[in-house]
């Protein structure tokens, strides 16, 4: 039986698609397509019975986000997932700056969960902005 969820270490960083999308494509579909994704080791995808393009929920102590699973071309890296830097990754990374100003954007422990509802998709940048606007004490409230 395939598992429903898998413990992983999350790293975030630049990808070439991310670098292209940020140049004037941030409020377009180009951005979630480039950055609302979770690059996984093929063996990890097999454990969760995932195929490329399936939605997954990635959870950490700090938050959760729906992403699209993508087969990593940089395998093997079993137990490690890569999420391009952007507002998707930043919902789940560790904001603690270790007293030097730098949050932990890499090496965060989390869980990847297979989603039964295959229609789920990552939020768009506009939807993320709307979420941020709903912050407690927001000037938009």
């Amino acid at each position: 039986m395939a598992k429903r969820e898998l413990k992983v270490i999350i790293i975030t960083g630049r990808s070439i698609e991310q670098g292209i999308a940020i140049e004037g494509g941030k409020m377009e579909m180009e951005y979630p397509r480039a950055c609302g994704v979770c690059y996984m080791d093929p063996s990890d995808m097999e454990k969760l019975d995932l195929i490329a393009g399936d939605p997954v929920l990635v959870r950490t102590k700090f938050g959760e986000v729906v992403l699209t699973a993508v087969r990593s071309e940089y395998a093997p890296h079993e137990g490690i997932v890569f999420i391009p830097m952007g507002p998707w990754a930043n919902k789940i990374i560790d904001p603690n700056t270790s007293s030097i100003g730098m949050p932990s954007f890499k090496g965060v422990e989390g869980v990847v969960q297979k989603l039964e509802d295959l229609g789920k998709r990552p939020p768009t940048a506009t939807e993320i902005v709307e979420e941020v606007k709903k912050t407690e004490g927001s000037k938009y409230a």
Binding site: A75, P95, F105, G107
Partner: protein, 437 residues
Amino acid sequence: MPEVVTDVVCPFCGCLCDDLEVVVENGKIVEVRNACSLGTAKFLSAQKEDRIRKPYIRKNGKFVEVSLEEAINKAAEILVNANRPLLYGWSSTECEAHRVGIMLAEELGAVIDNTASVCHGPSIIAVQEIGLSGCTLGQVKNRADLIIYWGSNPSSAHPRHLSRYTMFCRGFFRDKGAKERTLIVVDVRRTDTAKLADYFVQVKPGGDYELIQALRYAIKTGDLDKNEVSGVPRDLILKIAELMKSCHFGALFFGLGLTMSKGKHRNIDAALSLVRDLNRYTKFVLMPMRGHYNVTGFNTVSTWMTGYPFSVDFSRGYPRYNPGEYSAVDVLLREECDAALIVASDPVSHFPRKATEHLARIPLIVIDPHWTPTAMLADVILPPAIAGIEVDGTAYRMDHVPLMLKKVIDPPEGCLPDRELVKMILDRVRELKARSS
């Protein structure tokens, strides 16, 4: 007739490639030659639909187009009325804008910080503690026979770094190019850069510090009493140590894989110490792979003007430096700032969610050529010309070599250089302050 502008400097990443050719026809960029896909995307973005071309103020929840004067006035009012404004961004604009930005911070008693605090800030902190054995990229190209990328994947972030400066280029003393050089890549994934390497060292996430210290031990003693360190077998560690000691000129380039992982500045501390040790045997240098094309420029200008490279607080009237306290993420996490000016940056996309939430609470001024999540939260938006495409200026390459950015096309009507927009805010702030006193 298309016109070809030559020797154009690319305003995207810290490589600052200065061999671009941009073909312009009827005032539009129609082709970008020699650039990688990132640089090309940046040049073409100037003409994209989503370009911010007018000043806006948010009124009753909606962006309303206003005159530049009204927008500048509103921005100045917000900043003058704030107790602890934050001025952040700066890494994707020209040094002349940095200079005026720091003057504005001093005038306001503000906190000023640039994107270094979330990329190579830890490197700067470590360099301040240990010192740096560095050089220019030209020296690496002409002399280096051992190239190491540690926690850095230039194939994604600095695509032309290998072909212009390190591996696939002929140098004065390396006229056979890659044949005379050895490439080592240390990473947690087998990246495209790692696939090109002679030796790929796959380290466990968070294991860099131990691995560097193991290498230092192996270099000093020629031995190692562990079978593996951070997932790397002993034999490979001894081999890498031997290669490092026996090369003629080694260059270690490191990226966010070191600065953002467990240990942060301590990882860089260890890497600097490793390179210091190696200089007992051979010539070895180290260089951070700076991301934004002019992040180095801000750190340089800020150091001239305030004595400190980033995370500077002017609230007492004189500059104080303390990353962790005056760094933008911390100022936001503590919900301390009560207004923010963001120039050429998108913290809502690139800061941890918790830090971005405070930007939704406070008055926000944004100067950015494109609609971004940060611009969507703004109260005042000012439309800049893009430095390096529509306006000239100075930028510092990752090796601290200053280069002149070129103006290739005219900006859309009404879009002014960042330096002019910030100067207009500064002038208006001074007027408002003079009036109230």
